[in-house]
Amino acid sequence: MNRITRFIAIASVFALMVSVLAGCTKKPADANNFAVVGITQEPGIFDPHTVVAAGDEEIIFNIYEGLYKFDNEGNLNPCLATDVEISEDASVYTFKIREGVKFHDGTDLDPIDVVYSLKRAAGLNEGQDGTALVRELDSVKDVQITSDNRVEVTLEESNSELLSYFTTGIIPEGYDNCQNAPVGTGPFKFDSYTPGQSVILVKNDNYWQKGLPYLDKVTFKVCADMDAGLTELANGSIDIFPYLTSDRAKQLDSSKYNILSNGSNMVQIFALNNAVEPLNDLRVRQAINYAINRKDIISVTMDGAGVELTTAMSPAMGSYYDTSLDGTFDQNLEKAKSLMADAGYENGFDITCTVPSSYLIHVNTAVELASELKAIGINLEIKQVDWATWLDTVYTGRQYETTVIALTSTYAPYDVLERYQTESGGNFINYSNSKVDELMARIPGTIDENEKVSLYHQVLGILTDDACSVYIQDPTTITAVSTRLEGYHVYPMYVQDMSQVKLVSN
Amino acid sequence: MAHHIHIVKVHHLTLSFPTRKDPNPKPVLDDVDFGIRDGEILGLIGNSGSGKTMTSLAIAGLLPESASIVSGSIKFAGKNLLEMNPKERRAMLGKDIGMIFQEPSTALDPLMTCGKQLEEVLTAHKDSSMTPEDRHKTIISMLGTVGFATPEEICGRYPHQLSGGQRQRVLIAGAALLKPRLLICDEPTSSLDTVTTVSILGLLKDLCHKLHITILFISHDLSAVRGFCDRVMVMKDGKIIDKDTTSDILNNPKNTYTAELLTNARLDTRILGFEPATVDYSRSPVLTANGITAGYGRSLFERVKTKSADNNILHDVSLEVFPNEILGLIGSSGCGKTTLIRSLLGLLPHSGIVNIKSSSIGAIFQDPVSCLNPAHTIKWHMAEALKASDKLKAFAGSGTRAERNSRILARITAVLEECGLGAEYLLRHPKELSGGQRQRVAIAMCLIQEPSLIIADEPFSSLDASSSAELLKLMTDINRERHTAFLLITHNIHIVRQICPRVLVMDNGRICEEGTTSDVLNDPKSDCTSRLLEAERQIHGV
């Protein structure tokens, strides 16, 4: 008898221990209709107009919707607008607003909301100083309702490239608390944000696209870095984890996770500051371009999952991309050495590479670059700085020699190339070519698609001829998705579209 | 030998510390054989390492684990202790055998009040008939017995709140609480001053008679057994080499080693014939101190807050030292001798005036271990002393660096030789010297600065008799030949009598008597001088 009680006591203690341990390994039960997405960047801004970091866009893509919206193939589709008319000279955009759309707070979407939102983004509302919150919409002169369901946007000058910026989120009229309590029309409603831990979104039952979304709840969980996310994946505590490298993805159990990949439409660049010695010498820049082996870099940093680049645009941009430039800078050490000798640097030189430490891929690229550039005598010293310092000294201050970074963009080719104009704020490589300036100035006013493509090709060609920097790769986005979910699409942009995701039915 | 009832009989006891490397080492106790008679006080004398403490621990059963008894037996009241199990032996401790130890400062648990610690003796030997009140009563009465006027107060005090003598009394109370038949006292007085020693010995003797406790008294100092022990045994290298009644041992030692111990115990300067220089009291004094008042105030905050003179140790002390003079300064411990010296040397803030005629004043201190810097050689010490004085240039003269260095070296060697240390000592480190040699280096360091006065603070107290004698000779020689004055602080009245023409007696931070040595010592005018002389007489038989 006594022995039995003792056994029960021991067993119950054991059971307690097991339950404690189990408590921390508990997997999300399939019955629960939710998904957990791992993100590596702390979200901070929920205002659709002030958002800057790509990581913030990832989440609010599900909360806010614009007049137009990108799909996962990079197509721009009508969303809150059903149609658009663009005037001949591309200076007036007239949108027809969709009916029957409700905001998360239950109010109906009216053209007046659209006017308020666009004006707010363009900095035209009362109380604003006129500076556009969304910089690209700075050229908007006026927004007004024309007929009952149409909104007319007037621009200061012609711009045929602006449609992709009308993806900016629409919010209720007069609403100014988007940062703390986001209200949009998207498939998910904002529920809560615990800094450093998670953002929770819940299903928008009144979503205008009937039947969507499928999930009741989506949690965006902050992981310290890719490796922390990887352990969480292995652990089953997150369902979707984007931006993996393929060698890490390979470590996952394939019965539990599907690996999806897609081009990211990013341009990873080994940026050379054109304003400093000796990088102001074209021959040196060309030599560097010839000295490096893009395939090896992609192999080391992305385990081969990336598309080699020779120019400032990703092949994902379709016809705007100039295929004739492919292979221009295939590795050729002899040529690189002779170019260096021509420039008077046969013994090479020392140069620093300032990289943001938070991006492993860029740091790794720099490491590989340093090793490869040794062959032509260039001694690349890597200086890691945190993101804040990088933005401050490299991007804004332009106090650097070289850096490695990935340039993200929307699907607008103009957005990709805009920074190569001499006076552009984004021209952190200090590139200056009057021909490029002139060509770029012509693009917004050009309506004809073929002419536009040819202009872009010319710009790309000049950039390549000038070897303005070293273009490395368009890294493939690899996303691990739990096998219990389906319908997830990898976007070639920095967004997570959860509206199509649903549980695997079986 | 007549037949007596032996309460303890140690029978051919041999004890050693075997290790794995050396399973049969030289025994620490070698065939020790003696008995302790009921009711007597038996002295056990020997130098450190002679095995006296091991003997007592063997009787008490507190030997270290590594010790092993090779042969022999110990009988206590007829029972063989070595055949008992640890539990039985432990039951005897405190109840049948009590012990007190040398160092009262650490022998009590600092975290427990004295009363609680004494109570543990009673609770350890479970006596169910005792209530807590009974226990308290027993403790109070025992504290009264060992001479505390306010036993209740002592009960609630922590050990650090008591003086050394008081602590030793508490320990005696603990050992005697259950009225054991045997009390082992392991050097109970060696860290106490003479006056306290006398009172503790008196207390033990009292206990012996009143409570009929047999005492085994262990000491390294043969003179301490005078008038206290009935019989004395002398131990050397683990053997008992001499055993006799106290008077026979002291007055008529048969064994040469015992005789040697006896001479060491008295520093008999009469045989040595020291001759200090004659003093001319009409000359102006080398040192004048007027109205010195000093104390160890704690923080500035504290001093400002209290503003009282309670903390002061010295009260208005004035003295003069004349050229050529060896001035003696005596007093019991805690009377303020050391504070006075620190004030005179300018090491302590004080009020009053100190006037030194010559610029430099030398000092040597009590402890020969710490008087020299262990990191440096003797030569460095001498050079450092020379550099610190203004005499360096005078000795070094001019010339190249090498010339100057050789002149300095010659000077150093000369002074060291004057102090009886040859050139071979130059490059030695202090740890390679004996205590006496180190004190001589300290004197040499003073001499190289050519001071007119050297203050010597108890320089003999840690030295053995022969070293003391040599040092004393050196001091008188210096006094005679260099006309250096000395201020000699000591508790040894022998020495004062021999070499000091004049003496000061200090008590409680004041100078209570001053005069020529013969006047003061032969015809004391003040109580404190009489007390000092009385304690001295009891212990050393002066």
Binding site: R135, L391, T393 | L93, I97, G98
Partner: protein, 317 residues
Amino acid sequence: MQSKAGYLTGKLIELILTLLLVSLLVFTAFSIIPGDTARVMLGPQASESQVDLLRAQLGLDKPLPVRYGEWLWGLLSFNPGTSYAYNMSVSELIGQRLPVTLGMSAIAMVMVIIISYPLAILSARKPGRLGDQICSVIGHVLFAIPPYVASLLLILLASSLFSLLTVGTYVKPSDDFLGYVGCLLLPSFAIALPKIAMSFKFLRSSIIEQRNADYVRTSKSHGLSDLKILVRHVLPNSNVSSITIISIILSDILGGSLIVEQVFNLPGLGRLLLSAISRRDFPLLSGIVFYLALITVLLYFISDIASSLADPRIRLK
């Protein structure tokens, strides 16, 4: 004799002075960080006028002494301002993370005590015996393994041997207290390991030292049993000297948790700190650093008080 109140006052003044100096150190350090907070918040695309506007809003254009005064007042009134990056009250942010860091530290400390104490007592019973030597050698090895390496090994071990992974699943104590403790067990153990070794070594030598003390001999001569001597004399005395060591260990554990939570992907103060560093979030960063220092200062203060309570001698000084 100085009163206990006087001792406390002295310690308190010391505490306040230390905190002032700490705050000055923290403030100076963060005033010289390169990097413009406003620019970081707005990102590379923002215009200069936007940045200037924000800078003025944040009060970054005021002179340094004014900012120090305002900042210090905020800290002392437990209202250290609003995080630039999170746009939330700093105290709320720290409050959210505190359960992880403090919980982990507390569990680690409990582990240190319940493991090292019995081992030290057992080891000190027979110093030099085989068991003692094995414990000592293991202790040395543990001492030499950095906590994050131990974490890596524990993760490997836990995942391969028990197919359990506790990494990253943080459970809030309000949701499920047992789960909360459970998910902190492994990281706490990783931090505790070297400290167990440290505490073991210290306690062992302190117990051995105390066992050889004179008063133990006195107690033996009074006929006390070994167990009684251990419990009533040896342990209390070695505890007095351990109090300081324990407060040092606690502060080390607090520091160690900053790294280990990174390995285990726990949302603790360490990650908040790193993110605050990289985002130039001055109010948050200084808040974390100051309050962590405050915790440590208070720990030392408490340990001083505890020693003065435990040891009657200290009141004397």
